[in-house]
């Protein structure tokens, strides 16, 4: 049976036509066997372009369509719909990427034309073997998993819960709140971080549609969009939350003090049984088994003795809970850059060099000094403070990217120091970046009122090696003041390092767990950097907040809400159509070797003992192709990726390539 193929070549303005001779390409394609018509057009994706294709399908009776344009990621869905509207099964369509794979990667017009020919030839050969398929429709489980209980995750969870769907909010730490709970003030308005955060935390903790799983981590994720099964490990709190009233007596009575390196950033102490801060949600404490006297030495049990409700349970074990959700939002946040990696800044060696989170705690009224900005000796108020921007950011030795929040954070610090101590403040910056609403106004305000000295230069080193008069006992910041072209040594009492944001140390493993991608810097990769910033390449898995890249609170909240909106939209549809790409076993060819059985990452393959062959459950199969490649007998086929399709595509490409070689004698 001969097919009638239509080939459509897009100019994409000058994107493609600027490099590829589209007229020649179109003329050449028209001569290919089975091709009934070939056309080129300025923008194939425009309504007029699509109407062109629809008209040809109807009037010329095309049975197959090839569009040579951008990447399928961008417009495959567009042209499939176009075919569908004209009455052609959308899977009888193929796309050849002559923009991303040709015109954007070469300026050489000759090779561009030849490669375009090869890709189109491959697509034409392949499309003839395409089969009409129907999308698989599955139900969407309306429950949602949100991973990470910082401000982003809280926002997402509340939006979804308010829309009437159930949310499981999983948080690794004992309380939700994230980094925002540690902050004192928030820029640019300087409102109290706790004041605006805790109401949201409380809502999340009490919302009937939210199941809070704190002190918990996701261990396993199976399934696909609409139908995920999630396993979560709830670490043993050693506190029975059914009985605990959150009265805090256990914490008061616990004799063991531990440096709190998480919430207090190492600046303060906590007990071995503790809630990280007074407004913690949930209110239940957790026991730090590594530091608990009873667990380490076998005696104490003070908490148990004093607990009025008998809630302390030393025997409590980790619990693994399992539940089903239809969609997942990752809002796992960030780690702070470790300033020890820049030894010349003295962090960890020189006592009065602080990182940004330490300063947040120092400045916080609920923090270890009650909000007094004092040196490590616990009494001295600094008379001069240097704030260093870009620590670990915009530096090929550490992180090449801009951490986005440090300029505003540093300006905020400058203001807080001035307000609380009256000290002379110096800000050392490379560029001041204040791009969002009311940000530059904040900078202007600092310039006008705070007498902060701004020194343009990346600090070379912080040292306590005094050399000049006035330097003794001080921290000396050595820097080129680039605006006057002179090296300066500025003695100060305190240095604050505006450390950059980094992906979570385990971001790569988390990405793998949820089947999404990580950039080279290990930020989670969104589906499209501009037009699809919260979706990922994995259907049903969304990202929001800093885990996707450095951003401040307003943007994080925006993304949390955006991800929620995407999820609510999907859930409202109740069903989702999946690509009908599924593997199937040809029972006659199957030898029953069972090699495929353990290869399947979705546990979709079972062995039928009575028939002696393997069988694939199409509801579980995700069409990954692992079994197809593994089968030694070639008995497994993946629909839309059949051997005939792939081999003929290769044949089509080689035909052009080899033809070229023969035409040009070596």
């Amino acid at each position: 049976m001969s097919e009638k193929v239509g080939v459509y070549i897009c100019h994409c303005g000058a994107n493609i036509a600027g490099v590829v001779d589209v007229a020649a390409l179109s003329h050449w394609a028209g001569e290919l066997p089975d091709v009934a018509v070939a056309r080129d057009y300025k923008f194939m994706c425009s309504s007029l372009g699509q109407e062109l294709i629809e008209k040809d399908i109807q009037e010329l009776g095309l049975t197959r369509v090839v569009v040579a344009a951008c990447s399928p990621h961008l417009h495959e869905a567009t042209f499939r719909n176009c075919c569908k509207r004209a009455g052609l099964n959308p899977y009888l369509f193929e796309m050849a990427s002559i923009r991303e794979q040709v015109s954007w990667v070469t300026a050489n017009k000759t090779v561009a034309l030849e490669k375009s020919k090869a890709l189109i030839s491959g697509a034409v050969h392949r499309v003839i073997h395409n089969q009409a398929l129907e999308p698989i429709i599955v139900d969407i489980n309306p429950n949602v998993l949100v991973v990470g209980g910082g401000i982003t995750g809280i926002q997402a969870a509340l939006e979804i819960a308010d829309a009437g769907y159930h949310v499981y909010l999983v948080e690794r730490e004992p309380s939700i709140g994230g980094h925002m709970a540690q902050f004192d003030k928030t820029f640019p308005t300087l409102d109290c971080s706790a004041c605006i955060l805790t109401p949201k935390m409380f809502s999340a903790g009490t919302h009937p549609n939210i199941t809070l799983l704190t002190w918990s981590e996701v261990e396993k994720v199976d399934g696909y969009v609409g139908n995920f099964t999630v396993k979560v490990r709830q670490k043993a709190r050693k506190v029975n939350t059914e009985l605990c009233t959150g009265c805090g007596i256990c914490e008061q009575k616990c004799p063991k003090k531990v440096i709190d390196t998480v919430f207090e950033a190492g600046m303060g102490l906590r007990k071995a049984v503790y809630t990280p801060f007074p407004q913690a949600v949930p209110k239940y404490p957790v026991m730090d088994v590594q530091n608990c006297t009873f667990f380490q030495k076998g005696t104490c049990k003070a908490c148990e003795k004093f607990c009025p409700t008998g809630a302390i349970d030393f025997k409590q074990e980790d619990k693994v809970v399992s539940f089903d959700v239809g969609n997942i939002i990752l809002a796992t946040g960030w780690d702070l850059f470790d300033c020890r990696r820049i030894p010349q800044y003295g962090y960890g060696r020189l006592a009065n060099v602080y990182n940004s989170l330490e300063f947040e705690r120092l400045s916080n009224a609920a923090g270890p000094t009650g909000g007094k900005v004092i040196l490590r000796d616990g009494v001295t108020v600094p008379q001069s403070v240097g704030i260093i921007h870009c620590v670990g950011s915009r530096d090929k030795n550490y992180n090449p990217y801009c951490s986005a929040i440090c300029c505003m954070q540093s300006l905020k610090f400058a203001h807080l120091v001035k307000e609380k101590t009256g000290a002379q403040v110096y800000n050392f910056y490379i560029d001041i970046r204040t791009p969002l609403k009311a940000y530059d106004e904040f900078y202007q305000h600092i310039l006008e009122t705070d007498e902060t000295r701004f020194v343009r230069g990346k600090v070379a080193e912080v040292t306590d090696a005094a050399r000049l008069p006035g330097e003794e006992g001080k921290l000396i910041i050595q820097v080129e003041d680039t605006l006057i072209g002179k090296q300066r040594r500025i003695p100060v009492d305190m240095v604050i390092l505006s450390a950059g944001l980094e992906p979570r140390h385990d971001a790569k493993e988390v990405a793998k767990l949820f089947g999404i991608g990580c950039s080279a810097d290990q930020w989670f990769i969104e589906r499209h950097p501009k037009l699809d910033p919260v979706a990922t390449m994995t259907e049903g898995v969304f990202v929001a907040g800093v885990c996707q890249g450095p951003k401040d609170i307003p943007l994080s909240v925006t993304q949390g809400a955006a991800a929620a909106a995407r999820v609510i939209g999907l859930v409202n549809r109740k069903q989702v159509s999946l690509e009908p790409v599924r593997a199937s076993v040809n029972a006659e060819q199957c030898s029953g070797c069972r090699i495929c059985n353990n290869q399947c990452p979705f546990n979709a393959i079972s062995f039928l003992v009575d028939k002696g062959v393997s069988e694939i459950n199409p509801a579980l199969c995700q069409g990954c192709g692992t079994c197809v490649a593994a089968c030694p007998a070639g008995a497994i086929t993946g629909s839309h990726y059949t051997n005939a399709q792939i081999l003929s595509q290769i044949e089509g490409i080689l035909e052009v390539e080899l033809g070229q070689r023969e035409a040009v004698p070596a």
Partner: protein
């Protein structure tokens, strides 16, 4: 017994003879065989780069080829020679055209460099190949908590080599601690002493050396240990002139680390080339002999600011 091709460099022939003697003595006592390169030439130091980088690579390539002929990795006690040899080696290995060009020239001396060997500084060989633990075992004469300031200088650790710690390395301190001495923590241990500016920009060189001496003294150093003949000369021989220039009263012995290590390994001062110092090391030697003293009186001298 592990063997190395030993490239002493020009300074060690006379100016830093004590470094040469003590390096060989330490090697012998640590069961290392140092085979001196036959007919080695000057590496070109830093001055050469100003004139002709290609020529500079060629000079170092000749020495590398001499070492390769022995089928041995090269070790050199001079930081300048080390930097030149190390980076020539790196460059020739990644630039085949350059290697071919230079090998053409090497033919004139019946030499060829294929790039099969490694280049180490003496300090690396002692700290990594022999190992600080092993050295500790072999110490027969503890240095009695002598306060030694390890001076890394520039070219042993810079420029960057892979991901090596370039701002705060610790191996020199570890080596000093292994000898029973107390390594002095001071901030300028990685800072340039100005040695390469001695002739061209004396004022700058003196100012840099002064800062360094002052910082080591302020932190209680009784002696500064160096691993580079240029640093040694700059810091020791010009102390008088620095005192004149800045009205200071420095009188701090600047010894090669191998002289101190040698003493700890049981060698006599004579075997280690003691006696050629311009700033007397007799107080240092006295302290090591005097087992009663466990802490050192630092010759802490503030510069007179008047």
């Amino acid at each position: 017994m592990k063997a190395y091709a030993y490239f002493p460099g020009c300074s060690l022939e006379k100016m830093a003879l004590s470094y040469h003697q003590s390096a060989l003595e330490c090697a012998r006592r640590l069961d290392l065989e140092f085979q001196e390169l036959d007919d080695w030439n000057c590496c070109g130091t830093t001055a050469y780069f100003a004139i002709d980088q290609l020529l500079s690579y060629t000079l170092s390539a000749r020495n590398l080829a001499l070492a390769e002929k022995k089928k041995l990795d090269m070790v050199t006690p001079c930081a300048g020679c080390y930097k030149n040899a190390y980076f020539t080696n790196v460059t020739l290995k990644r630039d085949a055209d350059l290697a071919e060009h230079i090998n053409e020239a090497l033919k004139e001396d019946d030499l060829h460099y294929a790039g099969t060997n490694q280049v180490y500084h003496l300090l690396e060989v002692f700290c990594n190949d022999v190992g600080v633990q092993e050295i500790k075992k072999r110490v027969t004469q503890s240095l009695n908590s002598l306060r030694v300031a390890p001076y890394y200088g520039c070219q042993i650790v810079r420029p960057r080599k892979d991901h090596e710690e370039v701002e705060n390395p610790r191996y020199f301190e570890d080596l000093i601690a292994a000898t029973g001495a107390t390594p002095v923590e001071y901030q300028l241990k990685m800072r340039c002493c100005g040695g390469s500016l001695l002739i061209t920009s004396r004022k700058a060189a003196f100012s840099m050396a002064r800062n360094l001496l002052q910082n080591a003294m302020d932190n209680g150093a009784a002696v500064i240990a160096t691993a580079c003949p240029m640093c040694q000369v700059n810091l020791e021989c010009y102390q008088q002139q620095i005192n004149q220039e800045f009205g200071a009263r420095f009188s701090v012995p600047i010894l090669y680390f191998t002289q101190l290590l040698g003493l700890a390994l049981g060698a006599s001062p004579k075997e280690l080339g003691f006696g050629s110092e311009l700033v007397s090391a007799s107080a240092v030697l006295a302290q090591i002999r005097n087992k009663e003293t466990s802490t050192t009186q630092s010759p802490y001298i503030r510069h007179a600011t008047s």
